[in-house]
Symmetry: C2
Amino acid sequence: MSDRVPRANAASPAKSAGSRRKVHVSDPGSPTIRVPFTEVTLGAGLGNGVSPADLSVRLYDTSGPGSDPQEGLPPLRRPWITGRGDVEEYDGRPVSVRDDGRAVARKSAEDTRAGAGAGAGAGAGAGAGSGAGLSRWPAPGRRPLRARRAGAGGRRPVTQLHYARAGMITEEMRFAALREGVQPEIVREELAAGRAILPANVNHPESEPMVIGRRFLVKVNANIGNSSVTSSIANEVEKLSWATRWGADTVMDLSTGPAIHTTREWIIRNSPVPIGTVPIYQALEKAGGRPENLSWELYRDTLIEQAEQGVDYVTVHAGVLLRYVPLTAERVTGIVSRGGSIMAAWCLAHHEENFLYTHFEDLCEIMADYDMAFSLGDGLRPGSVADANDEAQFAELRTLGELTEVAWRHDVQVMIEGPGHVPLHKIAENVTLQQEVCHEAPFYTLGPLTIDVAPGYDHITSAIGAAVIGMHGTAMLCYVTPKEHLGLPDRDDVKQGMIAYKIAAHAADLAKGHPGAQRWDDALSKARFEFRWEDQFNLAIDPETARSYHDETLPAAPAKTAHFCSMCGPKFCSMRISHELREYAASRGIPVRAAVGDGMREKAAEFLEAGASVYVDPATTSTRREHPWVTTPEAPDA
Amino acid sequence: MSDRVPRANAASPAKSAGSRRKVHVSDPGSPTIRVPFTEVTLGAGLGNGVSPADLSVRLYDTSGPGSDPQEGLPPLRRPWITGRGDVEEYDGRPVSVRDDGRAVARKSAEDTRAGAGAGAGAGAGAGAGSGAGLSRWPAPGRRPLRARRAGAGGRRPVTQLHYARAGMITEEMRFAALREGVQPEIVREELAAGRAILPANVNHPESEPMVIGRRFLVKVNANIGNSSVTSSIANEVEKLSWATRWGADTVMDLSTGPAIHTTREWIIRNSPVPIGTVPIYQALEKAGGRPENLSWELYRDTLIEQAEQGVDYVTVHAGVLLRYVPLTAERVTGIVSRGGSIMAAWCLAHHEENFLYTHFEDLCEIMADYDMAFSLGDGLRPGSVADANDEAQFAELRTLGELTEVAWRHDVQVMIEGPGHVPLHKIAENVTLQQEVCHEAPFYTLGPLTIDVAPGYDHITSAIGAAVIGMHGTAMLCYVTPKEHLGLPDRDDVKQGMIAYKIAAHAADLAKGHPGAQRWDDALSKARFEFRWEDQFNLAIDPETARSYHDETLPAAPAKTAHFCSMCGPKFCSMRISHELREYAASRGIPVRAAVGDGMREKAAEFLEAGASVYVDPATTSTRREHPWVTTPEAPDA
């Protein structure tokens, strides 16, 4: 792990070859709001007559300012949060070794018996993390914030939904609007209507605000996290930075293994993007790994623990009702969601309704105190093509719709999780039904995987489904890595998963006609057409890979300015003819538009409309005189 | 390059772990028809009560019998072809060094001057190939076949379309039908209607018949071929075998570089799948690389040369009409098809209509003599999102529809090539319009790429488009490799492209409801659910990668039978609860279906219909007595 998290693909600007670097754009109305972008300045080979607006392209940038993992990121949002005057600092819940899971608690007990004195008790972070020098969060003095208890009007929700409904445009909304290229009022409106969320726990001031909703750019979440089998804290922090470098809009820490609490602390303190979790995983650890030992009290304690750390949204499987469990019995793959199966096990063991459902209003009160958003989990999502869109799945979805309304009554932000495994022709129905029964709350789907038979390539099987479900209105896509179903993702898997999903998200943005989305494609395609290789690389989702693939076949530096590629070689490049056409027009001093102007278009249309038969006399279609730009092209043989 | 082309993923059958191997299934009516399949026999961990039909899964197999490249494949179809009594052997066109391109001709001339005597002249295959020992096709004695000139009724087309229209079910149709799992009559009907093609040049008897049409499985083509910049004959033959191993249904040889003729000979003689080409590439070589020097005579000579070698289908850019060229002038990326730009250059240079269009009937006569199929090229396909579905593209498509009818009058098989770069929301229109104006001739599309900004990952950007266009009815997908736009694909790129496209094709098959397609997914998902790891691997599109990814995290052999994976670890696996439910039912001697039978379903439905509010009393939802299968699950903590 490097000392410094690298900055976003910042290529060193070379000669006249253009550059790719991070810039910050200030909100003219609020100069403290400085929004990061990746700016690609176009360079070599650009023709004359290019308007300044076409000389650079700004891309959405999730990579954050870069941090020393030991120090964490600066608390960007702190003044905005405290400035609203509705939060208070307090001591927070005491942290114990139990918060780090059974393995750590066991180790701590052994150490104590051995006289090593690995202290537990108050202060964030307990021992036994596996990364060298990363076991304990080095700044344990942090006191959490929550909604102020005293004061006029009593305790109020400190959620972005609450502010939006009150007509207030927060700094967070302005920041997100500038990132999206829309007016802040649009962000406020969408939040107020519940059609978007802005995950922003008051205890995660390090995050750069972003918005999730179908009127905005489609977002991508990356899952990281250790399990009892593998991984370490250092790895997870590196995966976080690596994921945001490649475009992760949010990151979920799904750790189940040792040092859960401490791992999460390191992740949040270093995260420029909202962090999501599934608290039931940690609660299960506290319950000794036995679902039947879970309780509302244990869960509540865990939720507050995570709220104080700064988790921005939590997956809550409150829709897995006892009566839905039998609906899964005849499925090909039963229940495949861990959270779903934990709650189903609890329900069956106790013969009682899901405590997350029965305590949902209590949950809402906690969420409102910190501005944690709900990500209502689809515990009964299909785990195979055969189980897609079945009764169990849609029964739970309807319950999530019901819970959405409850959360909204508490001014708590909500998004809805979706499947899973769904064949292409059943995807649209998922969005339509979700939007209907969940009152247009944002949809957040895992893929879906469109086929079951490609383990090792599920980033691709699911990118297909993700692009299509995004086109239909899904607001955020949870990535799937090549290791899905097979193992835990490593660094390269995280990158492969992220890139497949940035592709899916952008494909959806184009299909939805998101304003400005196509500008990026047009800039790259123009660069491609004009053989501006460096510009192509700098504009690419993954500049390094594009450059290295080009180098494999044509490694020499001159090839970077060559007017051909290795596909066809220098002898005959397919794009030359168009250039020659344009050059001819230019040499006559007429714009191409005029050269192929109305007269010619009409001519072509005439022919089409006449339904010209195959064997029109070539003489009649000769256009020697009509086409002023016709000339013998220069021999393309180099 | 290995001496023997490897057989299709044939894993050595291990213990009780099931197996994956090639089998041949004979047509009961025609025992000479032996159709290859990859048969996966399921093994370890399979529960009792499994019906024999569920014990194995047969997958479509394109890998061929395996060949020694020096000897080629056995001429499987030869007796069927000659048995119809409508072909004759003849001397064929004399092959000269010029057929191998300028570089070879130059080298040969130099060698002659130097007294080395590299002979040219008759017999297939001329020198200067770059692979060691692979420069000359070792069996030059082959005499080509063509439609018989003499005899009653005169010369007749020897095409599968001709036979199908005459009501004849050929061995080729039977073979293809058995592969698809449909009745031969369906294949005949679809061919007769022009809705499908069965590419089967009488001079490529080595090929295993297959059918391309929207009622059948979606097919995938892999492009290989050298260019003047890189690659060798040995590489190309290896890429061919490698591509068919990973599922290529057809392969296009797009060579433009040295030894075009000889490279093609090696490829065809070793190919178990139909081979496609773009003859204009070779014709351009013969024209010294100067489009203006092309002529109908040069093209005709090249087409016959390739027909005699056994090319099964050819891309012909006969729809690039002179009057359409100006329509591309204002595009972001002009003309991006090589063939399209060559023909556009010719048209502009000569101020005449495309000779492929004016000589289309002559072309048809040649095609009918050998049963070469047309793949009518989209020379004006969009090369960027910005240019998708524009006037130039659709004008050409209408002309291709017109040419389709001409070809059909000659009993020549036709498919239509499609784009290219198309954003998701514009894909359906491509298929709808193509099916309408081309009278339901099969559509064969390159991707389409759904975004422009991911060079290095265009196998993914285009697999998304390919799956969607396949769902809408495209019959064959031309793969795109990660190197698209950047360089020539190597061995691994071919594999990555193939797998992305097999995924897209299967996603489309599921979405179209192809009979039997889902059986594969269900078998794999059941194996996954029952922790039959070896069965999962054997059923995977890429067993090796799936196995190796699993091994990375859990390398020990016992992990292959473990009832958990590294995702959640042994402590709590999400799929256990469903198994416990089933086991409970089994222990009571009641089928799961009965345990969750009508009574319970009604109960669940009642609750749903009652629109139960969030806070129903948990007591009323308790099902202690109503759910006979409820039991406290065993503690899952291992």
